[in-house]
Amino acid sequence: DTAVSQTPKYLVTQMGNDKSIKCEQNLGHDTMYWYKQDSKKFLKIMFSYNNKELIINETVPNRFSPKSPDKAHLNLHINSLELGDSAVYFCASSQVSSGLSYNEQFFGPGTRLTVL
């Protein structure tokens, strides 16, 4: 019973193409995230949505656009893919509510994107 799922798991594409990565969580969480794990293995947050509203928007190129059709889904669309976009992208979710001490995030398995 997968808590946070991502599709596809692997994505190989040519420079200049447009691609999407889908993420779904069945945990009933109110917040979802996209992270990028670069070649140096750092996990860097890209976006965060709380109840379908964008709350974190890091300095990422405009070619990256998140879309949250509902609380359980956060998709990532990437236009005009570049070589430097090659990375592993992780989706995560959490329940962020007042009184909660820790924001434990549940991660999906990751999508390895390779741009040729």
């Binding site: 750092f42 947050i45 974190i56 992780f90 820790y102 924001n103 434990e104 549940f106 999906g108």
Partner: protein, 112 residues
């Protein structure tokens, strides 16, 4: 500008011994700290957390220590088991609802 650093990319420990994974941070506003464990081809999974009101938190074989004055935290695993072999990430944030900054991870290898 990495605000969370894990300076040891890898660590090898004998089964049954203690594993100590270290994490340093630069932002004095960080008050919430998480450790995640990651197996290959999987996403990170939450392991243990600590907030700045404590200096220690224990969960079974896992203990996290926080030294705020030194801006340093460590994860102790006692006793280490081969199944603990994974990459361990620490993460820090000023508040639970803010973004978390992750370190680059330490790959732990527990030898049987």
């Amino acid at each position: 500008d990495q605000q969370v650093k894990q300076n040891s990319p890898s660590l090898s420990v004998q089964e049954g011994r203690i594993s100590i994974l270290n994490c340093d941070y630069t932002n004095s506003m960080f008050d919430y700290f998480l450790w995640y464990k990651k197996y290959p081809a999987e996403g990170p999974t939450f392991l243990i957390s600590i907030s700045s009101i404590k200096d220690k938190n224990e969960d079974g074989r896992f203990t996290v220590f926080l030294n705020k004055s030194a801006k340093h935290l460590s994860l102790h695993i006692v006793p280490s088991q081969p199944g603990d072999s994974a990459v361990y990430f620490c993460a820090a944030s000023p508040a639970p609802w803010n973004k978390f900054y992750f370190g680059s991870g330490t790959k732990l290898n527990v030898k049987p």
